[in-house]
Amino acid sequence: MLKLLLPGLLCTVAEKVLNPVVGMDPDAQSRLNRLQGKQFAVRLRGIPLRLVCTAQQNGIWLNSHDEPVDCSISADLSALRQLSDPSQLTRLIREDKLQIDGDLQTLQQFSQFFQQLNPDWQERLSVYLGDAAAYKIAGGIQLLQRRVQQSLQQTEQSCRELAQDELRLTPVAAEVQQFSNDVSAVAARTELLQRQLAGMLPQSQAFV
């Protein structure tokens, strides 16, 4: 009964969290100005939700719909985390982990905007808690951020190793290369055989 309303709820909560954080970053405003009026959509594969971000001077506004936007991507969750690295884009697209429609520059600008988001927690907290407490808590938040980032990287690495080496669910690069060489060899042999067969055909017809 509430299914249609859930994306709206999600967007409301996300806006309420995101925009105060944007407001805490003193440099965010100039980066937002550059993005102003642009719309970017993300669809995470496996989740029936397309999230549309609209950048305006006064913040990032979220919606969920299927209308045309400046740039839209459809991606695996793992691919989304690698978007920040432009050198990975081609690989992700080739591996079908990422599909991009529209203006690539908009995608990169949004991606940079979120990456460079650097809220000044200390400044905001000091208004409520005083300078000393704010300094301690802001330090704690930074430490936490670093730890979470490290452990995310570690988890990703461990999962990759586990899948490749232990469970052998996914091939290592050398195996992929070997497989690709084998496929090319089979393709070449098939083509040769085809040509030989084609050459034999007029002779066989002559016997009929």
Partner: protein
């Protein structure tokens, strides 16, 4: 309910369950909204347990609004939809909050100003039946919980069609008919017993909330409203039932 039944006869119409002269309805509706304006937002949150915000969010999603567009929030009252649109159309776009009632418009103006939304919003006191805008002016028109208060709904829909740009869309968010019998019963109990009591307690105004409950029952159901939109000229009309059909969002395009 047929279209004829809910629109009344040529001289008379409905004001809730009462039959009144057409001219009389306008001033009676005006009195209701003059009376509830100050407490309107609090009562809205209370009566719907905040869910009206999600209905309005869904309306924005279905509008597919883009930066730079021109939007009319008709019968916009205290401006909830105007606020959502204003942030999305940005400085290159424009939102017009139009309402027949000055008290509601004033509450809306103050609220939007407090939210810091000033640059791209204009306010117009207007009757939905005869909109004071040029033909083909708007990319999007919304009318949320407003249409059932309008005396001549067919005239209002034609007027909206006229001022919409070709390719533009109309969204009508309005109370409708619950799709499940059990929900209908619970809803009746809620709106005829609890709602007027809440109106009395919070806004000291039982009658206005009694009117609210009655006007909801007299409003055309989903398919009738869809048909009325088609008769006014809208194409590709469709609707979504929200919260079991307690509310429906109708959408139609002008091509």
């Amino acid at each position: 309910m047929s279209e004829q039944q809910h629109s009344g006869t040529q001289d008379s119409t409905h004001f809730g369950f009462k039959t009144v002269a057409r001219d009389e309805k306008v001033s009676m509706v005006a009195n209701v909204f003059h009376s509830v304006a100050a407490k309107y937002d609090v009562m809205n949150d209370l009566m719907s347990l905040g869910i009206h915000r999600l209905w309005k969010r869904f309306t924005i999603d279905c509008s597919g609004v883009r930066p730079g567009q021109k939007v009319l929030d008709l019968a916009g009252g205290t401006g909830d939809l105007t606020a959502l649109f204003s942030r999305r159309v940005g400085p290159t776009g424009q939102v017009i909050l139009a309402d027949i009632n000055e008290s509601m418009l004033n509450v809306g103006k103050d609220k939007l100003r407090d939210l810091g939304l000033v640059n791209n919003i204009s306010y117009v006191q207007a009757n939905a039946e005869a909109l004071p805008f040029a033909d083909n002016s708007f990319d999007i028109i919304t009318i949320a919980f407003g249409l059932r208060n309008v005396t001549d709904k067919a005239a209002a829909l034609r007027s909206m069609f006229r001022v919409l740009k070709p390719g533009g869309r109309l969204l009508v968010l309005e109370f409708s008919k619950p799709t499940e019998a059990w929900l209908s019963k619970v809803y009746d109990l809620y709106s005829f017993k609890l709602l007027p009591a809440m109106g009395q307690l919070v806004a000291n105004d039982r009658e206005s909330y009694q009117y609210l409950a009655e006007s909801i029952r007299m409003h055309p159901d989903q398919d009738t409203l869809k048909q009325m939109m088609q008769q006014a000229g809208f194409a590709e009309t469709s609707y979504h039932n929200l919260t079991g059909g307690i509310v429906a969002l109708h959408r139609g395009y002008k091509f």
